[in-house]
C-alpha cells in the first residue's frame, strides 16, 4: 500500500451519539487512552457504513490488540489509532506509521487502517491491498 500512489476521495458523514451513551462524569483515564478507545468507536461505525466490513474478532498479542474485520467471506487485519493533533502532516504521518505496523504483522495479513483526528473532525481510512486507495472523511 503506497500512500504516494494512492487514489484519495473524501466523504462527508455526520456522526450522532445517543446522549444516554455519553459519560456523565469525566473519565478517569489518560487522554491517549481515551482517544484510542474513541477511535475504535469511530472505526466500528465507519467501516460497516462506508466499506461494508465489520470487526469480527479481537485478540491480545503481547501488550497490544489485534483486530480482524470481514465482509462475511474474507478476513483482513485492522489497525486503529486516534489523535488530538490539528496538524495534517502529523495526521498523515500517523497513518503511514499504522500502515507500516499493519504490513509488519507476523501473519502476513493485509487490511485496513483507520486514524481518527478528533480536533480536525476527520478520519483517514487506508483501504486494503490491491486497491491502493486512501479515503479521507
Amino acid at each position: 500500500m503506497q500512500l504516494d500512489s494512492s487514489v484519495e476521495s473524501t466523504v462527508h458523514v455526520l456522526l450522532q451519539w445517543d446522549p444516554e451513551s455519553a459519560f456523565v462524569q469525566p473519565v478517569a483515564v489518560q487522554e491517549r487512552v481515551l482517544t484510542e478507545w474513541a477511535a475504535l468507536g469511530v472505526a466500528c461505525v465507519l467501516l460497516p457504513a462506508l466499506l461494508n466490513v465489520r470487526i469480527t474478532s479481537v485478540a491480545v498479542e503481547g501488550e497490544s490488540f489485534d483486530y480482524r474485520v470481514s465482509d462475511g467471506s474474507t478476513e483482513w487485519g485492522l489497525e486503529v489509532s486516534g489523535t488530538m493533533t490539528e496538524d495534517d502532516g502529523e495526521l498523515r504521518e500517523r497513518l503511514r506509521l499504522k500502515i507500516r505496523q499493519l504490513q509488519a504483522n507476523p501473519y502476513g495479513m493485509m487490511g485496513y487502517v483507520v486514524v481518527a483526528a478528533f480536533v480536525r473532525r476527520e478520519a483517514l481510512i487506508a483501504i486494503p491491498e490491491g486497491e491502493n486507495q486512501e479515503e479521507a472523511i
Binding site: A28, E61, E63
Partner: protein
C-alpha cells in the same frame, strides 16, 4: 474448513470480553479486568484447540498467543509462560511471530521475577 457456528459465537463472546477487560483495566478496575481476561483466555484456548483440530494453523497460532497474552494480563504468569513455551516448540510459527512471542515471554518472565522479589521482601519484613 471454516469455523463452526459455535466457534463464531465463542469468537464474538471472547472478543467482547477482551474489549471489556481492556476498558476496565484502563479505568483502573484491575480486579474485574483480570476476571474477564481469564474468562476470555479460557475461551481462546478452546478456540485454539478447535482450530488445530481442523488444521487451521494461522487461526490456532493467533488464538494460542492470544490465550497466553490474556493469561498474562489476568496475572497468571505460569499459565501464560506454559502456553508460550508450547507455542515456541511448534514448527509452524512464522519467524516474525516467534520474535514477538520471545520478546513477550521475556517480559512475562521479568514480571514474574519482580513478583518473586516482592514476595521475598514481604517475607523478610
Amino acid at each position: 474448513m471454516t469455523p463452526s457456528t459455535e466457534d463464531v459465537s465463542a469468537e464474538t463472546r471472547k472478543s467482547n470480553l477482551l474489549l471489556q477487560a481492556a476498558l476496565l483495566r484502563d479505568q483502573g478496575d484491575l480486579e474485574q479486568a483480570s476476571a474477564l481476561f481469564a474468562t476470555a483466555a479460557e475461551i481462546e484456548e478452546r478456540l485454539a484447540a478447535e482450530a488445530d483440530a481442523r488444521n487451521d494453523s494461522a487461526h490456532a497460532l493467533r488464538s494460542w498467543y492470544s490465550a497466553a497474552s490474556a493469561w498474562a494480563h489476568a496475572g497468571d504468569f505460569h499459565h501464560a509462560l506454559t502456553l508460550l513455551q508450547a507455542l515456541q516448540q511448534r514448527p509452524d510459527v512464522p519467524s516474525a511471530l516467534r520474535a514477538r512471542m520471545n520478546a513477550f515471554s521475556a517480559k512475562v518472565q521479568e514480571q514474574r521475577e519482580l513478583w518473586r522479589q516482592a514476595l521475598q521482601e514481604l517475607a523478610s519484613v
